[in-house]
Symmetry: D2
Subunit: 289 residues, 4 copies
């Protein structure tokens, strides 16, 4: 169920709370503060007001708010949104060893900081959630509490962008695209199969695929309409098959067959254009725009 | 034990047979024919004479000669040279499933052609030995018998090049080399770790490694002093670590970390130069010379 | 003055002739034939009908039609359209030596073929008009007469596309674009000066320039909205200045300063994307799409 | 006439002075000081001792020494070595306007600093001699006097390296080389014509050329056996002709014909490897090693 920003600006306080009160989990006071400062020109402004309410709250209230959030790998994902977010990144199906590592990190984290490990899972892969966990555990409490709030803001920004329609939506989506140019023919490589893999626990898992169109691009971006999960990826291009179909001599077996491009995504809201320029004997790639 | 071409040109027939009689397995008549046509200006000429003796032999004798060779994966590798060659490529340690596939192919091959599958294993990887087996099984008998003799000639050329010293050694060795240029700094990438993998049964097995020297090269070629085994390989360059040490900002995690270059070798006696030109955000490679 | 295809489909014969009768110069019979076959679904169909009328005419009428066209470098450009077209490519300001070469070619051409050298000047540069002249003079009469009609069709297609609005306009325009990626920073190169030169008589003449925007592109294509003149070009990118502004050490003087990319356009209706990927120490370019 | 370091180490003072006394022009006291500190293990050591004698001299003597040197563009090049060096870079044939600019700079320089503009012309092009002149004129006296001595040391190092044979010759030579790889064929580009130009007064002057050999290289470096003159250069590769000979379709006119690579040399004693990787539709270059 979405609601328009125009409607939000005019509805009564109860309706407002019903509409967006669960964006900040178990913290109805955030919506209460935000509804008082209406109207908003943009959804981004509305989110800024909500974040402002959190930032302006006494430290005790902030802490209680953060503590209200469920453990990431916990048994008690208290809201449907939380459950969905955790499932999306595969945290609902951890191996026994992974679960134990998670719980060990969870226990150490809560023992050290007194609040749960907050992370916007939709901006992460399983691997980066784990590596961030270890890295953040080593920080001091002030830095880490600021990070916890920042993660809440990432999470709520995504929720708000999904719930509210209207002007000035916050930039929450990234884009991963590619393009294949055949430098032997001086033309886009048409009909080349591409697969996209995500690395998890040192293994590549296929998460997508496409075939290049007449312009050497894929009809849709490889990832779009969501944040790009921080993590390691590999694109695999069927270069050998492309030149075999074109009848170009390239050795037997061909010098290049499947060309892997391994790269990392660090900016979930960024645009990653990772093209391939290839002949049967050479190729290059780069982060484009 | 090596022998010089000069000595071979002057020794008596018995000594000649003792010195190079086992180059063509269980076929002393090849050496007999070759010793009668001495002297030879080059080792290549000597091998040509030996091949000529085989080519000039009646078909029955050629067939008997080929049939004298052991099954590739057989229980009866009759000479020490044969055993060593088969072990070198890992054929002495096939899995049960692989052995069964081998035996199945062996049986089908011998049933169809009436002679064993000949292949110069030092010019091949496990994968290419198997894929060639399937491919050659589909051929007609005349083509395949010519191929069998050609493989014997590859094998004996290698043996002769190892046994005889002197002028005009046949070209039996290939070379795989690399070079890393840092296009961000405009200098060779010094101290970059490189690993070389061979693909077998769809998995990459590490077969070598090196660290680039002051010129961005490896002190020794990655493979040299032997034929390059036909097959699929992957070089992995520690690009992320290189730029981290140089203090260059490249994202977190860095856009490029381990850069894999996957390629095939099709010419065992060729020179494969596979360099990497890289910045933190781009790279290219090519078959160089 | 433009006219819509819908209006053309419904106006009387006199109005139709007044509107598009001069598309085929001094040949009112072409419009007469075309108006009789109305209506047309697309402007391309209308042009096809006009071309069909020429192709269906007796050879004598075709020849008279071609002969009615003015000499390319002549004193007697009989229509305003002809004059404008010839001026656009610089043919109104030839040097004395060039004029003499033109007249020599003109005389030889007319002596050999009996009709003037037809060429769609908007699809050409001064250089290609001259080089085509020499090349076409060497051909046989049948080939050359077909080429003369083809050039008339290029010319009239452009005129029609400029005069008539509506559905199915013929593809008459090409596009030249560029893009600069800084592979040192992994970002588009912003604010880089680019100049475009056309080669004429072995010298480069500046015909355009731009500065890259925030996406490393130029706000408008370097050439668009017209056919790309067949010829030789050079893009010059101020790479040295870009890295100097970024504070990147690149030698003194810098290894790369102005980077010239010299290329030819052979397809006036094509899209030429000629990007530059550059670090202070390396660059690459390609015909993209 | 060369002399060996071994002989220099043992000859009497008069012979020593006769042999190397003119390395430092009109300053016999430098050789006198140097002969007293024999023997020298390397020619580099001998030059270091000579430089040490200059550095240890009173300021008045240093100044007199520098003042003894002829004006660069002067009428009075007092030694044969000086004359030869100035001619080598084209300073003996300046245009009237250039001569006037030179004299103007000379007068201003001497008026400001009280000694002539010293520059090791063999490490420079006409262009860099002029641009350095303007740049150095803007400096303070202490910086510039140190630079003047440094230039004398460059000059004398070259003279000594040419005169004395033996161990430990100073590194005075640079090297410019290239290599062309055809990425369409995956092989070196054989038989490709290359021309080398030096820029002077914004115009390119052809200073060399070569044709690639079977390895895609030139039989000899483009510049070697001397310092690389600091300046701007352009390599021009006949890429279009190469692919035309190979019968590769590349457009008419071909997209790439002459490919210019414009670059600067800033390190006269360095190695500049400037290769070209090209297909008919793409190319790249870099400063290699």
């Amino acid at each position: 169920m979405t609601v328009s920003l125009a409607d939000l600006n005019h509805m009564d306080a109860a309706a407002f709370a019903a509409a967006v009160g669960d964006v900040f989990e178990l913290a109805p006071w955030v919506a209460t503060a935000a509804q008082a400062r209406r109207p908003y020109a943009t959804v981004t402004d509305l989110h800024a007001a909500m974040m402002g309410a959190v930032r302006a709250a006494p430290r005790e209230q902030q802490l209680a708010f953060v503590r209200n959030h469920p453990d990431l790998a916990g048994k008690a994902a208290v809201t449907e949104d939380s459950k969905r977010e955790q499932a999306s990144v595969g945290l609902d199906s951890l191996s026994q060893a992974e679960l134990e590592r998670f719980h060990r990190l969870n226990d150490a984290y809560k023992a050290k900081f007194g609040f749960p490990y907050m992370i916007c899972v939709r901006r992460h892969t399983r691997d980066s959630i784990l590596s961030e966990f270890e890295r953040r555990l080593a920080r001091d409490e002030a830095t880490e509490f600021a990070q916890a709030l920042q993660e809440v803001f990432y999470i709520t920004r995504l929720r708000l962008a999904a719930k509210v329609t209207g002007e000035g939506l916050p930039q929450v989506n990234g884009r991963l695209s590619t393009h294949v140019l055949d430098t032997h023919a001086g033309r886009p490589a048409v009909g080349m199969a591409i697969e996209l893999f995500e690395y998890a626990a040192a293994r590549a898992h296929r998460i997508g695929g496409a075939v290049t169109n007449g312009d050497g691009r894929t009809d849709a971006p490889l990832i779009a309409g969501r944040p790009l999960p921080i993590g390691r990826y590999e694109l695999r291009f069927a270069v050998g098959e492309h030149f075999r179909r074109r009848g170009v001599e390239a050795g037997d077996p061909p010098f290049l067959d499947i060309v892997p491009i391994r790269f990392a995504i660090a900016e979930p809201e960024g645009h990653y254009h990772v093209p391939l320029l290839c002949s049967p004997w050479s190729y290059s790639t780069y982060r484009g725009s």
